[in-house]
């Protein structure tokens, strides 16, 4: 227990992560020295995690508006209109550091936190996706065997944690992405995205209104877990002692959260709830001062009334606890009994702990004794904002080693099979089947069955598509371009299930912002994302920044994870990635149109190809620059795919990404992680470029689609209408997978053999723990 009478000094403030300048600012706001409880409150609210002090100046450059946007950044989640009086609330958040310290609980509470953000808005969560990054899980990928086995333990814990929480809560985990790179060995990334739906006129906001309205605490009791999770865990680099931070990780109870969800939605339905906010990072501190600040009011609470799990907790501990599954709500005065009654029905604690006040102060009492008194608005909104120095990293002193292409005519079958077994490309069945991806019976396109997940919204006939993408390797090589590709790929993925991209959410994972080259990466990524979102018409409606992803001074790749939400007006038009019938025509749609036929200079091809998954897996090269991006081409491809879906002309659609055309063809043949039968392809390609580039190159704005031969003319007509390049590659086959390049066979294999390399590699690596 921390003594409330303890004397606060600048040194103690520094131990709380507040700089001298920041401490002076605290003194100025208060007009006096803070006491220990107040210091704790300021330190969490002004932590990087809660205050966005390093990122704020840059985030302003992102597009956040559009006719479809009901609520942009600044609330618990972004909200967009999906028609017929319905809205979708969605947001992505990181839980990286807790997941390294305690993978199972870290990941579980990451899911719990983002779910609360959604139902706080009055929306029922209908889907979760995850963007995960780990260190290598196989030997020989730049990690020691001790690291490899630790990484496997982390993967196992994170996957079990995500499943544990979502499965019990009853929300389907419908997709996401996972990648493995050495830079994530000591700093894995766990980003969770949740989507919910609500009636537009039944949305709730976190704005405390109405002086003397009661402030009600609901949900789990407050304990000593997670104190300083936001400030000490999420807002500092890792050192060798970081395992000692395990007590800072919260512990999740999805059963309690399920009750909280049902009770909150039912309480909101009474009409007696004025405002509501979840207690996530910085717990009671954050929820009280933010609700007051947004509502231009004050709040007064008495901590003696807060339900507590442990005895002898100090005001400091109660205000800073990050115990999970708690909510704070403001009810209409005189109608609190209606609200309390609902929570009693669900056997949850619900206690009036204070009231809304005028004057804008956050006043915290303990048994009637004043223990903290802080102006809410300056605390929540007037924290420090830094324009930190930026500097591009120094150019490498010697020339990069680039990929040298294999001679024409080389048989690439072995390399292809090896590429299919790379953890980034291999089947994710081992992960996905640990998640209940079907509960709520809305999952139209299941994980691995399409480029995006598609969940229907019952009562509307509509479907919502969600994809989350990031490419740390490309952002590492060229942050701005890499970020553009991440947005474009997520939007393209959404279009590949037939949906029209509507809006985006982002989780920005970076190293230490106090280093100028990290801040430069961040600034570049923001500009890239902003430009891509503007070009593709997908405003950013929310998200989260995670800095200090460094261990022992080594930063992760800059890794923006972009989630794009799309809408399909008729859920029965959903497209899957799997081939359907032997004999169907295989077509390559290329947004670049006729321009795509122009050959690039050989040196440029080498540079571009050196950034590919093939270069990394087969040649162990990570170099060069990502392919150039053409937004007009991306837009044409997206528009034509959505048109083709509505017309019902296609049997399958799958975009080209990691591993290029050859991998896309194989994956379409495999159809899904769970399919019991696979189909093959027989395609003939022509070109002047090296065969490896043609098969495995990763240029954007392209998709492989199939159509019955009878529909070919109609597909060609649409392609012409959208000025889209269309190439007939070949046909869907059974048994054998074959690619010819300029008349020579470059890949030939039984489909079953390719499927085996793809299907089992992740499972084998992870079962070998």
């Amino acid at each position: 227990m921390i003594d409330t009478e303890i004397c606060v000094t600048p040194t103690l403030a520094a131990e709380h992560g507040l700089s001298l300048d920041e401490y002076a600012r605290v003194q100025k706001i208060l007009g006096r020295d803070p006491n220990i409880t107040e210091l704790g409150i300021f330190s969490v609210m002004w932590s990087e995690h809660c205050s966005y002090k390093s990122s704020k100046v840059h985030l302003k450059r992102l597009p956040t508006k559009g006719p479809q946007v009901v609520q942009g950044p600044g609330e618990n989640a972004g909200v967009v209109d999906i028609g017929s009086g319905w809205v979708a609330a969605f947001k992505i958040e990181s839980h990286n550091h807790p997941s390294f310290v305690e993978p199972f609980q870290g990941a579980a509470t990451g899911v719990g936190g983002i779910l609360r953000d959604i139902f706080t808005m009055g929306a029922r969560p209908i889907a979760v996706l995850d963007s995960l990054r780990f260190g290598p899980i196989t030997e020989g990928q730049g990690a020691t065997s001790a690291e490899v086995s630790r990484n496997r333990r982390i993967v196992d814990g994170v996957v079990r944690g995500i499943g544990f929480y979502g499965n019990c809560f009853g929300v389907p985990t419908v997709g996401g992405e996972v990648a493995f790179e050495p830079c994530y060995s000591a700093n894995p990334l766990v980003n969770a995205l949740a989507l919910g739906v609500a009636r537009r006129d039944e949305l709730f906001f976190a704005r405390a209104r109405g002086v003397d309205n009661p402030v009600i605490y609901v949900g789990a009791k407050t304990g000593r877990d997670g104190i300083h999770g936001a400030s000490l865990l999420a807002s500092a680099e890792f050192t060798e002692e970081s395992q000692q931070k395990r007590p800072n990780v919260q512990v999740g109870d999805p059963f309690l959260e399920k009750l909280l969800l049902e009770a909150c939605l039912e309480a909101m339905h009474t009409g007696a709830v004025v405002a509501i906010q979840d207690m996530g990072a910085a717990g009671l501190t954050c929820s009280t001062c933010e609700m007051a600040s947004r509502g231009s009011t004050g709040i007064e609470i008495d901590l003696a009334l807060v339900p507590q799990r442990e005895t002898g907790m100090s005001p400091y501990e109660i205000m800073l606890s990050e115990s999970q599954e708690r909510m704070l709500l403001v009810a209409e005065r005189g109608r609190e009994e209606e609200v309390l009654c609902v929570f009693r029905k669900w056997e949850l604690d619900a206690v009036v702990i204070g009231r809304v006040t005028s004057g804008g102060l956050l006043r915290v009492l303990d048994h009637g004794r004043l223990v903290a008194e802080i102006p809410a608005h300056p605390l929540a909104e007037e924290g420090p904002v830094y324009s930190r120095p930026l500097a591009p990293p120094a150019k490498p002193s010697r020339a990069e080693t680039l990929v040298a292409f294999a001679p024409q005519g080389t048989n690439l079958t072995e390399n292809f099979a090896k590429l299919l077994a790379a953890p980034a490309i291999a089947s994710k069945r081992w992960i996905v089947q640990q998640y209940d991806h079907m509960v709520r019976t809305n999952t139209v396109v299941a994980p691995g069955a399409g480029d995006a997940a598609l969940v229907r919204v019952k009562d509307t006939g509509r479907g919502l598509a969600l994809a989350v993408d990031g490419n740390g390797r490309w952002c590492h090589l060229e942050p701005r371009l890499g970020a553009m590709h991440a947005v474009a790929e997520a939007a393209r993925n959404v279009a590949c299930v037939g949906a029209r991209p509507l809006a985006a959410t982002n989780c920005l994972n970076f190293g230490n912002p106090e280093k100028p080259e990290i801040m430069w990466q961040f600034s570049e990524v923001i500009d890239g994302m902003g430009e891509a979102c503007r070009a593709l018409g997908v405003p950013i409606t929310g998200g989260n920044v995670s800095f200090y992803n460094e261990t022992l001074g080594h930063a992760i790749y800059p890794t923006p994870a972009i989630g794009v939400l799309g809408i399909l007006d008729d859920d029965s038009h959903a497209l899957h990635m799997g081939f359907r019938a032997p004999g169907d025509a295989i077509l390559l749609l290329d947004g670049a149109g006729a321009a795509a036929a122009e050959a690039a200079a050989p040196a440029d091809l080498e540079r571009e190809f050196s950034s590919s998954e093939y270069a990394r897996t087969i040649r162990s090269i990570v170099a060069g620059t990502p392919p150039a991006i053409d937004f007009a081409a991306e837009k044409r491809l997206i528009d034509s795919l959505t048109a083709l879906a509505v017309m019902g002309l296609l049997h399958s659609a799958h975009d080209l990404s990691d591993g290029g055309l050859a991998v896309a063809l194989a994956e379409s043949g495999f159809a899904s992680f769970f399919a019991t039968e696979s189909l093959g392809a027989h395609v003939a390609l022509q070109g002047t470029e090296p065969a490896e580039w043609a098969l495995f190159g990763e240029r954007g704005a392209r998709a492989v689609v199939t159509a019955p031969q009878a529909a070919l003319a109609a597909v060609e007509q649409i392609a012409a209408q959208y000025q889209l390049g269309l190439r007939k590659l070949g046909t869907v086959t059974q048994g054998i997978f074959r690619i010819e390049y300029n008349g020579r066979e470059v890949v030939s294999s039984p489909v079953a053999r390719l499927r085996a390399s793809w299907a089992d590699s992740l499972e084998q690596a992870l079962a070998a723990r």
């Binding site: 544990f164 009750l259 089947q433 079907m438 509960v439 709520r440 019976t441 139209v444 299941a446």
Partner: protein
């Protein structure tokens, strides 16, 4: 004909079951709160999937003591139709309304995917609309679905035709490869001796629309509807017979 879907704290397939019966099949359905002991007016009760009372201690172990289970037990003893799906099946096992128990999955992990189950008997209210030996594609989603019982019980189950569903390959063959959780004798679902209470680990309500990949689960729900309709017409027939002397 009215279906009741029990809602325990932590049930999370209650709405899905309601949707399959009410929206897909157009039958009257109401939820029954776990504190309720009044289930008069219902003709069939479904215990849905989820994590009743958080599944603390052991799956279904707390739920069996809930007030609603007293009523469900009485309803079952008087011949009412009761179906337990996944967690609902676990609750029925814990309540002693069905024989056997479930263990952790053999792989020690949660498993969610479509499986294939074979209808072993069609002379029950839950399978009468199926063809003998029909293979159904239905999803599972559980950590504890590894059915187990002692040798004597297994022998009785076999002899009395109480093994209702078995995990099989898509073409109906039994093999360890197609058993997702290590269940004894590939058992996916069982029925009581009186043939009015059944439970299974797979989720028929999740396989009720071809848009969601499979509509095979409807066979089970339609069988129940069919059985209730027959009971209704029989009881109408019986009461008519009573009033009109032969």
């Amino acid at each position: 004909m009215k279906f009741g879907v029990v809602v325990f704290p932590g049930s999370n397939c209650d709405h899905d079951t309601h949707h399959a019966l009410a929206t897909v099949l157009g039958r009257p359905v109401d939820f029954i709160w776990h504190q309720s002991e009044d289930i008069a007016g219902f003709d069939a009760i479904i215990l849905p999937g989820g994590f009743a009372y958080g599944d603390y201690l052991r799956t279904g172990a707390i739920a069996r003591f809930s007030p609603v289970m007293r009523a469900v037990t009485k309803f079952a003893k008087s011949g009412g139709l009761v179906l337990g799906i996944c967690n609902g099946f676990q609750v029925l096992l814990e309540s002693g309304l069905l024989p056997g128990a479930v263990l952790r999955n053999a792989g020690l992990r949660f498993v969610c995917r479509h499986v294939y189950i074979r209808v072993e008997h069609t002379d029950t209210p839950f399978t009468r609309a199926a063809r003998p030996g029909q293979v159904l594609k239905i999803p599972i989603a559980h950590s504890d679905g590894n059915y187990f019982c002692d040798d004597a019980t297994l022998h009785d189950l076999e002899r009395n035709g109480q093994i209702l569903f078995r995990y099989v390959s898509p073409d109906g063959r039994e093999s360890a490869e197609w058993n997702p959780n290590g269940a004894l004798s590939n058992i996916a679902g069982v029925i009581n001796h009186e043939r009015n209470v059944a439970g299974l680990m797979p989720h028929p309500e999740r396989a009720a629309e071809s848009l969601l990949d499979s509509a095979d689960g409807l066979v089970i729900l339609r069988s129940m509807i069919d059985s209730l309709a027959r009971r209704e017409s029989q009881s109408v027939g019986a009461s008519v017979a009573e009033r009109v002397p032969a």
